[in-house]
């Protein structure tokens, strides 16, 4: 038994000085200026044309998807949507810095990461129409994506729960000797949950190779961040946990890519967690159920519209001659057509047959679920017109 000394690293003072807020200032990494030119002193990350363009195309696609689906919701074609307008760089550029074998756990506003991984327009649509082609069998509300082949964990609504889960998943990757990490996205609001504290502390103590990626977009629904916390954002908490930390401009795709690349390197090499705080702004309403005019000004939004991450990256790409402006406009139109086409196709696909209602509760349905299913099927057979989504395909089992 080795003797322990929990004071071994503690210095001594003889003056009763209370330490106040602001003793540390965590600066924000920025590489691109608002106009897309890079800062002179900035050391740009090692980013090839293909990846850079893919990040850009992903962001563009998400912008198109978001716009289209918000309208689709207004038209009553889907029940709910949640856009990531203004925050596309944070999710797309961070995902670009990962390897395909890394697991993604997301909150819900990271469609950019998912699209970067290769989730198709059709997959997006199937999920939003909760139809039978969807891998999650239509069990959750729109935007609760999840795809095992893409190593993208199915989203769940309760906030913050994925944070300790990410620590556990990463611990599993480490114990299995995988060359992989877990990235865990969450908002600055979710970071108030007890699960945040539990997850970050456990990840630090148990040395889990995970990136905790906070999108600090200034709001949690209507609650501004100054009613959410009183410290220096989320990054300052990393220090308390003994977690390596970086704050980055979330609207600067290059900075996000650079920070996440560095974070992944540390997580893999040192087998430990890293915290990234990406400063951004939720230009969208919280969701289609929300109306932000109730709690913030158009002016404030306008200031952030000026910091649009997409045009910032576009300008940089153009300055590098990596993007053809004409093709850019064409491809935007193609994306719009593609989204519209898939929307129309996928909304026709029926929902899962009724047997699925009791599946996946357990590995196999126990007696009571079998009983309930069989009663339900009898009932639907008796009143088929009342259950049009399933009555047509009911089998005789």
């Amino acid at each position: 038994m080795q003797d322990r000394d929990h004071l071994s690293n503690v210095g001594i003072t003889h003056t009763a000085k209370i330490i106040a807020n602001g003793i540390i200032d965590i600066p924000m990494l920025q590489l691109l200026q608002a106009d897309g030119t890079s800062f002179e002193e900035a050391k740009l990350p090692d980013l090839d044309q293909e990846t850079a363009v893919k990040i850009y195309e992903t962001m563009k696609f998400i912008r198109v998807l978001d716009e289209r689906m918000v309208s689709a919701q207004r038209q009553g074609r889907i029940s709910f949507y949640l856009a990531s307008t203004g925050e596309e760089a944070a999710s797309a550029a961070s995902a670009a810095a990962l390897e395909p074998q890394d697991l993604i756990m997301s909150q819900y506003r990271e469609q950019g990461a998912l699209a970067y991984r290769g989730y198709t327009t059709e997959q997006f649509m199937n999920q939003m129409f909760s139809n039978e082609k969807e891998a999650n069998k239509g069990r959750q509300m729109p935007i609760h994506y999840g795809d095992k082949p893409l190593n993208f964990m199915t989203i769940s609504s309760p906030l913050g729960t994925q944070i300790p889960q990410a620590a556990g998943y990463a611990y599993g990757q480490k114990m299995a000797g995988e060359d992989a990490i877990t990235i865990c996205y969450f908002g600055e609001g979710a970071a108030s949950e007890g699960d945040f504290h539990a997850g970050l502390n456990m990840a630090a103590v148990l040395k889990c190779p995970a990136i905790f990626f906070c999108r600090n977009n200034g709001y949690a629904i209507s609650t501004p961040s100054n009613e959410q916390f009183a410290g220096d954002g989320i990054a300052s908490r990393g220090i308390g946990y003994g977690i390596k930390t970086i704050r980055v401009d979330g609207n600067d795709a290059l900075a996000v890519f650079a920070a996440t690349t560095e974070a992944r390197k540390i997580a893999i090499e040192e087998q430990c967690p890293v915290l990234i705080e990406a400063m951004t702004y939720r230009l969208a309403a919280h969701s289609t159920s929300d109306d932000p005019t109730g709690y913030r000004s158009k002016d404030e939004e306008e200031k952030w519209r000026q910091k649009d991450p997409i045009s910032r990256l576009r300008n940089w790409l153009i300055s590098k001659d990596w993007l053809d402006e004409e093709k850019d406009v064409e491809s935007l139109e193609e994306m719009r057509q593609d989204v519209l086409k898939q929307l129309k196709l996928c909304e026709q696909v029926p929902v899962c047959s009724i047997e699925h209602i009791v599946e996946d509760v357990y590995d196999t349905p126990p007696w009571h679920l079998q009983e309930q299913l069989s009663e339900l099927k009898d009932h639907i057979r008796k009143y088929p017109e009342a259950y049009p989504a399933t009555a047509g395909r009911i089998n005789n089992g």
Partner: protein, 325 residues
Amino acid sequence: MARMNLLQAINSALMIAMEENEKVMVFGEDVGYFGGVFRATSNLQEKFGRGRCFNTPLTEQGIIGFANGLASHGSVPIAEIQFGDYIFPAFDQIVNETAKFRYRSGGQFSCGTLTIRTPYGGGIAGGLYHSQSPEAFFAHVPGMKIVVPRNPYQAKGLLLSSIRDDNPVLFMEPKRLYRAAVGEVPEDDYELPLGKADIVKEGSDITLLAWGAQVEVVEKAAQKAEADGISCEIVDLQSILPWDRDTVAESVAKTGRLLISHEAPMTGGFAGEIAAAIQEACFLNLESPIARVCGLDTPYPLAHEKEYMPDELKVYEAIVRSVNF
């Protein structure tokens, strides 16, 4: 009297409580300036200031922990949990703290002044996490009261009683009815008693028992059954804990049959407790087994919501089965 929907009735109760007693404070996620995601707390911050109506950080365990402390101080906290599905992070604070505060201290300290408001229930295409009906979890917690109104009139009167009752109350609001249920509600102060069931309609062949939004469902089923000549007595339990066993037992002694319906999954739901107690109280009166028409024993699905719900057709079928037993 004024026509109000359920949200307005709740807002009106909150207004009255805050006007009457400056110790009353309303807080939770987004309840401040914005007035709550459903707008139940509209205008409270404007009227009573940020000190008495405020947003909290996004932490349900913190909201209830904070509320427990505030209640034990003698203030009158009304804490909102944005959705019933998100009350579980606060489960420890409610089960081990709120409910046991008075008992463990021999009555020296208590959370009696606390009211927790939360919207619950399905039928709004909310899927797993915007549809749950968690009342049964709390019905197993001595020290708590649980109240569920079925319409605007009950909502206002029961909420005012809950706020003033010297016991912690979990007040569950059927969110499907927030705007859908509209009715005449007195603008003034009034209370409705806690712990009392309400006989919504008298009948002689079978007793139908439900609460919250489910009362409307059994009412529709009853109409269908009455067309077949079956006379239904409809009882709204209103208070889940403590519940009004005697009113239910009297009704069943009269009708000889009981059907209980709730949205929550059947197994471990509160219908089980009622059935257990009533088969004991009315053993010699029962002419058929007590029937339960409830949600399936699965998480609350999205695409199959209609099939999952204990709707009026399922209730109607169970009525017929019970009467023909």
